[in-house]
Amino acid sequence: MIKRGLATAGIAAACGLVYASEPEPRFDAQVRPLLNQYCLQCHGENLQMGDLDLRTVSSMEKGGSQGPALVKGKAAESLLYQRVADHSMPQGEEKLEPEEIRLLAAWIDAGAPSDPLPVQADLEPAAVHLPSHWSFRPIRKPPVPSVRNRQWVQNPVDAFILSRLEENGIRPAAPADPGTLVRRLALVLTGLPPAWQESSRLPEGPGDPAYTRLVDELLGAPQYGERWARHWLDVVRYAESNGYERDGTKPHAWRYRDYVIDAFNRDKPFDRFLTEQLAGDEIEGTDAESQIATTFLRLGTWDDEPAEERQDRYEQLDDVLGTASSTFLGLTLRCARCHDHKFEPFSQEDYYRSLAFFEPLKRPKNLLKPRADLDRMVGTPEELERYRVATMNLEIQMENLQAEKKKLSRKIFDRLLSEGNSNRDLSWAHHAETVMAFRTPEERRTDEQKSLIRKFEERMDREILAAATAEEAERLRRWERELAQAKAEAPAEPPRAYVWYEDTPYPAATRVLLRGDPATPGDEVHPLVPTILGRPDLLSRLGPIEPTLDTSGRRRWLARWMTHPENPLVARVMANRIWQWVFGEGLVATENDFGVAGDAPSHPRLLDYLASEFIDSGWSVKHLIRLLAGSSTFAQSSAWNPQAAGVDDNNRLHWRWQPRRLEAEAVRDSMLAVSGSLNHSMHGPSMFPRIPDSVLAGQSMPGLNWGEPDPEQNLRRSIYIFVKRSLAVPELELLDSPDTTSSCEQRRVSTTGPQALTFLNGDFAHEQARRLARRVMRATGEERDNQVRGAFRMGLSRGPSPEELEAALDFLRVQEAQIRQDLTGTETIPVIRERALQSFCLTLLNTNEFFYLN
């Protein structure tokens, strides 16, 4: 305690922190090992003699056929103590040592405290200081500010934005024109441009009920989930392979992708969403869906041939802890792995305490296939049990039937061979060795005999059937039928998922690793949230960590702490991401870093308003999106205003819409959409677009684990492309698809020559241009004027300006002449005209406007 206090004294003082002390004796370190050694063989997972299960405090309190085994605070009244004290338990030679009995008594007398303590009950409330850093302080919903220009305000978001603009003497930009706004809305909410409809009236703006209906319609479309799930997949480092040498495939990882899509589409409350990903295997009502959610824990890279096993184990735990802390808490806890954090109030002990939440996760290892990963069946305990029992019954049934069949066959077989004058021709089998082979009991057959059996078995079966009496034949046939029926009625196998699991409530101890080196373990630590965030009142309300029957219960406790409305970070971090995914950049521009070194929020009160709103709405993501998309702030045009720029050149105050480049997936999907080729089918295993051989040549085994491209499948949205860590699809990679080795909170934007080459010369872009040109011709006919207008509407969701029309027509004329001149063959005029139009469409697909969200 003292050592730790000193180690971070500077930071602690800076943040107004008070440390707590830990009581004794400790359940997991001292009591559990005793139970493990003496009691659990008979009162544990496999056996519950006397209906007694001693694995958890609650199951002890519940007790068995003789009543409760534990009375908290009263060792003398607890059967658990009485039985070991009088040596009636455990049965057998080995009894508890006197000091072990004393320890057990002391623990019960101390109230049988459950797992190590998040509870810091001894702390004097008066001694608690609030941390001074803004994001560590509680969220309080601020009043909505009043503004002068009240008509501009569609909802409280606008009031917060406008009040800051008015303070700074900036006028918000004029509303965007309806066409721009609808395109913006569609791209932000679904990642696809709006469908081109010739006659539909466009809603005017947020005040128009048609606009609200459009927002609802887009939020209700399945494409919304596909778009927003992709944002989430960035943050959780989603990939379907392990990285490193073999870059093995993570089986069934795509089910997690589908889980996320469905969660956004159904507006799964975010607290539940978080809980399922961290602890879906530990929570009440655990089922296939919540277990699939825990794939979150296993999405990271791992080495199937690590240079050093222990180091590798901690790399994996660091990956989980690092991802969970940046994803949910916006903290760079990872930096405290080898030493106290340089900028943040996190000690190295904080890191390892947090790591202890994940320590119980097993190192996945399949002894039969050491390099294979683990995938498991998922479902509710009842479903899994039902399947297990049904499979077992089927096996027994099959075995019985087989045995009966065999017995009868044998009888007929014996009869067949003994009847020398049989009218059946058994000359083929009368070879002495064959007969001997059939006569020898199965387990005693030599290899040669076995091969003889294999050779003649089928024929022998036929002979046997032919030699059977009518009654015998009927019996044989009946058993066959029963076998077939049993097989047909076999229970369907539950879905499988790629999960990292625990298999005991008694995890190994976690130790501080000096300098982060597993070879130099230091003091033992217990699971606990970073001290600066460990508000004693909140921790004591949450109570101790309760293990489940086969897991430590640590992760579900962590999820409870995270989703508690008093947790200062989780709602802020997610509300900020929602803002970012609508406006392009968070109110806190360092979306994964809410720490002292992170950026300060541009609108702290608005952020707290949104975070409170988020919690109050039942953690509804769609609720926040409705607020943001329905604001005048959202509906502004991107017009530049030198006067405003003079005050706030970065537009941090939101005096206009900030244009930004679309993400790689949105670009690809938009191209497919406007060309009319997009395959909207959802869910299921990932697909594999064709990758040029020259790209595959960069791999040590070109094309390994890259599936067969399928023309129809490859027209699906980009979220269904297989994410392979060592091989990227060029169209996506060159547009800065996320790095999947750690959480990516914000896409990078780079502009390069190869990027331009890809969309100018690449097969994908050309194919879409070709299809768009055909689509335009089908819809608009032969007139160039009409074609240009149609191409603009389909490609850019608007008609051309007069000068654009002129430029386009100029181009078509010149290009047509050029193509005619370049061609040596006998192409017809329609072909040449179509090629010119294709060339125009390709140009349109390459415009800044197509690539940008304006």
Binding site: G243, E245, D247, T301, D303, A307, S326, T332, R334, C335, K342, F343, E344, T590, N592, D593, A597, S638, W640, P642, D649, N650, N651, R656, P659, R661, P692, S694, V695, A697, G698, Q699, S700, M701, R725, L727, D736, D739, T741, S742, Q746, R748, S750, T751, G753, P754, A756, L757, T758, L760, N761, H766, S801, E803, F811, Q818, I819, S839, N848, F851
Partner: protein
């Protein structure tokens, strides 16, 4: 406590945030990597930095960007990567004691826990069948497998005490390329490009040529830009056929047609230009298409060896089918250096097994093959660079991901060993003709003047004018660097 290092800031007055992102990020990104100078230079000529950048009016960020920390010795680096792990005691590090004790068990085998783990794969000590002799004025001993490189020893600093941390190819390659055993970090070439930018308007700044037999294990993560923008990643260049992905227009599309397209594209884009700061981003996209168009001429020209003289072609072994594949890549590397490409990596060995230097089964057979394929071209490259006056400004590095054990495996092979192996550097800023460091009597463990991979990296950056402690990139809550908290410049190696 070390004082807070000054953060490297490419571009003038631009702020870096975690993930390196600001709304103006593209400026230095475009300015950093692929032909970035071209973009920013063109943009600066167009005059829009004056409008959108407040800092340093009149100065082009393109010129500021890429300012090294101190005057560089080397302008460019060619990294010859011998994938699979070449055997030091058969090539560069003669061990009479090992030869003498051929067949005997290795003493203290258990002292190394990692070696102990692989004990069942190890036989007795195995001497080398290859003879060594002294070469050049420096008299450095080189194996008979390298008769041509041996002629160049006076240019080389030979690091006989190199060591690394992994026994496995995947993580070993990653460490040699990115400094880390884990995937996800920017490669050496990315750091160099991030620090220095490019000198060529029309070619990638960082080029990778893989072996004709395939890529190295892990593939692209070996030349990835990790958490940096994609513009810093290595671009794969093929020595035959289309050198760069999608370089060739689709069938039937002529340059004339394409230039019409680009003119229309530029026209449409300019009609929808913006007065806001994103306009520079939009203009950069326009410039990127012009660049792509020019690359279609310049990249094929860079790899076109038709106009190289017969003497030059012979120097690189282009006349001999055995040396032709690797020779082409070496010659292209020289041409790229001439054209201002900053970092070029050439792989010898691709795919798996004996297609690489991974001589588990038979060192003699494996190494005879790979040495014959690479020795003449490498020597040709050094001689050619020298005769053209390029060697003094071009750093040439020769390394694999690790070396091999002094003990035998399967009778005639050797297993992986990162504990001590040989690498060398020559050219830009290197004092040639010296051996630095030594392994123990068996050639197993580096014992003298040890050089870790981090030290190699620190030295390469140093020679290119970059301080490995100052060249940082903010990611995941802290300043990341190529050498993490390690690495020392190998002072003895410097001229």
């Amino acid at each position: 406590m070390r004082s807070e290092p000054q953060r490297f800031q490419p571009g003038n007055g631009l702020r870096l945030t975690p993930c390196g992102r600001t709304r103006r990020e593209f400026l230095w990104e475009a300015g950093g990597g692929f032909a970035g100078t071209a973009l920013t230079f063109l943009l600066a000529q167009d005059g829009f930095f004056g409008k959108t950048l407040h800092a340093a009016p009149g100065k082009s960020p393109a010129l500021d960007h890429g300012a090294p920390h101190f005057p560089p010795q080397a302008r460019a680096c060619i990294f010859l990567f011998m994938y699979g792990g070449p055997s030091q005691m058969d090539l560069w590090d003669p061990k009479p004691e090992l030869n003498k004790r051929d067949g005997q068990p290795m003493p203290n085998l258990n002292a190394d826990p990692l070696l102990k783990l692989r004990k069942n794969r190890l036989g007795g000590l195995m001497g080398t069948p290859f003879s060594f002799r002294k070469w050049g004025e420096s008299g450095i001993e080189v194996s008979e497998l390298f008769p041509h490189q041996a002629e160049c020893v006076d240019e080389m600093a030979v690091f006989r005490g190199t060591y690394a941390d992994s026994f496995a190819h995947g993580s070993g390659l990653l460490q040699m390329n990115t400094g880390f055993l884990r995937q996800g970090h920017p490669s050496l070439g990315s750091w160099v490009t991030y620090g220095l930018g490019s000198e060529n308007r029309n070619l990638p700044a960082y080029v990778v040529m893989v072996d004709h037999r395939g890529g190295p294990i892990s593939g692209p993560p070996n030349w990835s830009s990790g958490f940096m923008p994609a513009s810093y990643q290595g671009t794969q260049l093929r020595s035959e056929g289309d050198p760069i992905l999608f370089l060739k227009p689709q069938e039937g599309v002529t340059p004339a047609q394409q230039s019409h397209q680009l003119r229309l594209l530029s026209r449409l884009n300019r009609m929808r230009g913006s007065a806001g700061p994103e306009n520079s981003e939009l203009m950069a996209r326009i410039a990127s298409y012009e660049l792509a168009f020019r690359m279609q001429q310049s990249a094929p020209e860079a790899v076109d060896l038709a106009r190289e003289s017969k003497a030059t072609r012979r120097l690189y072994g282009l006349e001999d089918p055995e040396t032709e594949k690797f020779g082409r890549k070496c010659l292209i590397a020289r041409r790229l250096v001439e054209r201002g490409v900053r970092f070029i990596q050439v792989y010898s060995g691709g795919g798996h097994g004996d297609d690489t230097w991974d001589a588990h089964g038979n060192v003699v057979k494996n190494h005879t093959l790979h040495c014959r394929q690479t020795d003449l071209p490498i020597a040709g490259l050094l001689k050619d660079l020298k005769s053209r006056g390029l060697l003094e400004s071009t750093l040439v590095v020769w390394a694999g991901e690790f070396g091999r054990t002094p003990t035998s495996q399967r009778g005639k092979g050797r297993d992986h060993s990162p504990r001590g192996f040989t690498t060398w550097m020559a050219g830009g800023g290197i004092r040639g003709g010296q051996v630095i460091g030594a392994t123990d009597d068996f050639g197993y463990e580096a014992v003298e003047d040890k050089v870790h991979v981090h030290d190699l990296h620190a030295t390469i950056l140093h020679l290119m004018g970059l301080d490995h402690e100052l060249l940082t990139y903010f990611h995941g809550g802290r300043e990341m660097s190529l050498t993490d908290v390690h690495g020392q410049v190998i002072r003895k190696a410097l001229a």
